[in-house]
Symmetry: C2
Subunit: 620 residues, 2 copies
């Protein structure tokens, strides 16, 4: 991965003189533009140095490959455009809108073709960036289509530019069907556009060697017919051989049926509960009325993959135990098909290949659930653009539950329901923030993958873990309370760690007594009566709150002050011994500095205008 | 004033090639450095085009003249350094500290002299700016000393730079007594340093013509001996002739005794109350036990001047009435002497020259007091870095009290006590902010002058005026309540306007009943008892509040929600008829956009390093 970036950096080219495009608006003639691109310099390396690949649109017309150079703080992109018409927009935006996006545009005015760094305003109008930060390295015609090789630093000095951060990036695209006299004549609103979510900054970690006795097990859909509807969750039960002994999963990887790359959105393998002797063999949509209820007991995650992810390797000293006594032989595969074009008749056998070994590694890996308890005590007022709730795994719990040498977190899966917009878990020690466990400033509930951490985070007894979720409830009229329902909210970070401990869940909620004080306070400040009668439930109470600046501000103040009810549990039903009610809210005396994006002082050497892409008359 | 800037712009010069200084560190030899400066280009214009002038240090070693070009958004500075030793620092910082300041530095390494744009960190260490935004136009030796002529845009793209805004600017200086091998070797902490507050961006308004029959009256200290202590407020009673009829003051200007320019900090002339037939003739310190109590009734401001201000002109169509029946013949002059070096034996006859006319202008000017009622109901918790209180002059009051064509505000004097840090008054109409009446983001209670507005603001019946004050109570342990005491707080904007109306005071405070609800709320959330017994006063109640995040946040929430008690008064004792209690807090649906500092895209043409100032061997 790192080697790829180094090879690419050798291909840097002086760009053709800039600005010459400014007055070159010709007539729009070529309805079906054929571009024969002269390579700017060199040729594409024989082996692709861009290990990550994702289709951008459901038809697979646009395909993006990329690699990350952490040394250069730069992402290298290769965009393959199949059946190019008159151009393409590609870029990034906060949440996937084509408005307010940071874009590269390849367009033609009918005579010449141009490549430029641009941005779209809130009306979708395209403008050239004052500073050109996407740098074109190569434009080449291949049998598959036109490929554009370009790079961009993570951060630029241009306030119009998107900051490439860890976590989810919303890639956007648009297809130009005809020439435009100028860049400014393009409006994204009129184009065929779309978005694709991806983790762009893949961690730069080395792949551990697999043991010699590694064997594989494929858990795949049995050549099913993908339903012709936008969203399908397919459930399929698989079974381990009778007598399958205890093994360690050391790696898993996706198997995606060729041609279905744009349809298979994410896949998970769950192990069923050992409490049941057996599970019915079912294969069908997870929401089918035919699905046996017992499959609801298959919830222990063994493997999870989402679009754009590659193989998942456990650290060399740990593996995920499965098989053996006390462990169910039944697995449930869940495949999410995302089929917005409602393509019919497509068959699929996608799934996950587990690589496991009988030579057990030194440590069992485990999963610990951080964040908020699933309770209506934690609620978000309606019409909030960015309301933050925090769940605490307190020092008292880690002191009790973790071994003296601590645990090592190597991966993390963030989880909220529909209004979640950001999630971050911070580790604090002695009241001071020390490390970010995982952060996603562009979190989407539609893209929940297990992510390897860039660096392993060690949690010692007495450490504090704070998980903060930011919600947007602008489209809601009533409070959104915590809970299991899809219209209720969660704030969870499943952290993958070793060595495995008894601690399965370390979460918190506000003390219920203090929340009742809040309802009384709201009552005393408002003419309308809030239902605080003893038989009212907390969701009913929240539904009765008149949402004004005072009830909003004081709810925020309450959550920032009131003591906690802490869940420090061995399993969801069994708490560690101790007093966990009315725990003081942890105080943070020193925060981590905000990561100041490195910004090149002074001008960059690149061109100040679009780059002219030379077009020949040939036809492919 | 505008002409001066235009003349200066013609003097722009190509700077000598930069960076050549970097390795030129010589030995520090010249203890008393004599600089014979070769003028970079041209000569100083015969008549000084820089109309504003202020001494920076109490000894008058450094003197700053300046002018403002609003067309170029640039300030032109001329710094006169008398008895130059090895260099000087000059610049600006948020509140006058030499740490975190934006600086120009003239320094020598013993061989060459350099001029550079620099900044100081929180430890006082000096660093060269990556971007050089102070541009040296001329360095010249004059009989008085070395003069440096340079300019700087209001705003630059350099995050290290100070943004020059309306209102108070804290100028800072430091004197270099010896050469330094490099800029980075300088630390401001070891130098003789100081600060001077000034309104740098003087409004660009034309001076109205004075009537032919204008006469003058000088109200001056009677050749007094300035006490040898840091702070003296001198009180002196003057008297108008018997039978002095009604006149209009149309202009006033400072008279500062030559040589005392650095000692006379500000001066005010007050008219005494007409309720008393006469006032004793007193001349002495205002805090003297000998001062007659009756002088406390001399509080109606006729004129106010502060360091750096020039003459104050009333708009052509208005004048300030004085003299005639119903008006006292007695005036009180108050002069603030700021004498940090405790200079002894200096005599002074400074004062204010009033220019008045018997040809009364069309309109009487008036003063209206906006902001917060002087009441402990409005309080700031201790240990707050920036707590905002807001006073409202409601639409109901302006509807009742203002004439149909409104009033025209042309000047403003902001006022708080010791913890005030920012003050702003905004005009809103139909719930939307429309204009800034006056704003000072670097307000200091030690620098309260009447300032002409850049543009007259018209207030119509039904308009709303919101005055916001930001306080810093980080050095306090108890709440700071509103009131008259110097350790209590005020939030006031005295606006000068015409035509004069009966409305003297339009202010507000929180409804007292809602504040009591707040104390109850704090009680119910805390184990400690807040004194809410009926005999407790509001200051006692505030003193009993345990200040935690909840009591702070909810006080802020209360002030942002609770209804108002409005004072809409003809004089401090007489209200306009109407219901003024439990008035709804005005809602603002659209705010004025934050003024986005204009920032040049791309690099500026200036040098990237310090400018070398050529030194000859001559001696003055």
């Amino acid at each position: 991965m790192a080697g790829g970036a180094a090879e690419l950096s050798a291909m840097q080219v002086p760009s053709p003189s800039a600005r010459e495009a400014a007055s070159m608006y010709g007539t729009a003639v070529a309805v079906f533009l054929v571009i024969l691109v002269a390579a700017l310099q060199g040729s594409v390396p024989p082996e692709s140095p861009l290990p990550y690949r994702i289709p951008l649109d459901p038809e697979g017309t646009l395909e993006l490959s990329w690699n990350v150079s952490y040394a250069q703080e730069t992402v290298y992109f290769r965009l393959l455009v199949r059946g190019l018409r008159a151009g393409v927009l590609f870029g990034m935006s906060d949440r996937g809108a084509l408005q307010g996006a940071d874009l590269v545009v390849l367009w033609t005015d009918g005579d010449s073709a141009y490549f430029g760094d641009a941005w779209s305003d809130q009306k979708g109008q395209i403008h050239l960036d004052a500073q050109q930060d996407y740098e074109l390295l190569q434009a080449q015609r291949t049998p598959e289509g036109l490929t554009l090789l370009f790079r961009r630093p993570f951060s630029t000095c241009d306030p119009r530019d998107y900051l490439i951060e860890d976590g989810t990036v919303h890639l956007v695209y648009g297809i130009l069907e005809r020439p435009f006299p100028s860049l400014e004549a393009i409006n994204a609103s009129g184009l065929r556009t779309g978005l694709q979510r991806v983790q762009l900054l893949k961690p730069n970690i080395s792949v551990p060697a697999l043991p010699a006795d590694t064997r594989t097990l494929e858990v795949r859909a049995p050549d099913i017919l993908i339903p012709g509807q936008e969203t399908t969750y397919w459930c399929h039960v698989a079974e381990l051989p009778v007598g399958f002994s205890r093994h360690h999963i050391v790696m898993y990887e996706p198997i995606v049926t060729e041609g279905n790359e744009a349809l298979v959105h994410h896949m998970e393998v769950f192990q069923c509960a050992a409490t049941f002797e057996s599970f019915p063999h079912f294969s069908g949509p997870c929401d089918s009325k035919m699905k046996p209820d017992r499959l609801n007991y298959c919830r222990h995650v063994l493997a999870a993959w989402a679009l754009g992810a590659k193989a998942f390797y456990y650290p060399e000293e740990a593996g995920l135990a499965f098989g053996g006594s006390g462990s169910s032989r039944f697995l449930r595969l869940e495949v999410h098909y995302h089929n917005p074009l409602q393509i019919q008749g497509r068959r699929d056998s996608s799934g996950i290949r587990l690589h496991y070994t009988a030579s057990l590694r030194r440590f069992d890996a485990g999963v610990l659930e951080l964040g908020l308890v699933y309770t209506p005590l934690m609620a978000v007022p309606p019409r909030e653009a960015a309301f933050v709730l925090r769940g605490y795994c307190t020092d008292k719990c880690t002191q009790l539950a973790l071994p003296p040498s601590g645990i090592h977190i190597f991966a993390s899966q963030l989880h909220t329901h529909l209004t979640g917009r950001k999630v971050v878990t911070v580790l604090a020690r002695d009241g001071r923030e020390r490390a970010i466990v995982n952060r996603d400033n562009h979190y989407s509930p539609h893209f929940q993958e297990i992510r390897m951490l860039k660096e392993i985070v060690t949690v010692l007894p007495g450490d504090l873990l704070i998980t903060s979720c930011t919600y947007n409830t602008e489209d809601r009229t009533l409070a959104t309370v915590g809970g299991f329902g899809i219209l209720e909210e969660m704030c969870v970070n499943y952290v993958h760690y070793y060595p495995r401990t008894q601690l399965e869940l370390c979460k918190s909620a506000v003390d219920p007594g203090f929340l009742q004080k809040y309802f009384h306070l709201v009552n005393s400040f408002n003419s309308e009566e809030v239902c605080t009668c003893p038989q009212a439930s907390v969701p009913e109470q929240f539904a009765a709150v008149p949402w004004n600046s005072f009830s909003r501000d004081t709810l925020r103040a309450l959550y920032g002050f009131a003591p906690l009810s802490v869940h420090c549990n061995k399993s969801s039903a069994s708490r560690f011994p101790g007093e966990w009610e009315l725990q003081p809210l942890p105080e943070i005396t020193a925060r981590l500095p905000e990561p100041a994006p490195r910004c090149l002082a002074g001008p960059r050497p690149g061109p100040a205008g679009p780059t002219v892409v030379r077009i020949g008359g040939g036809r492919g």
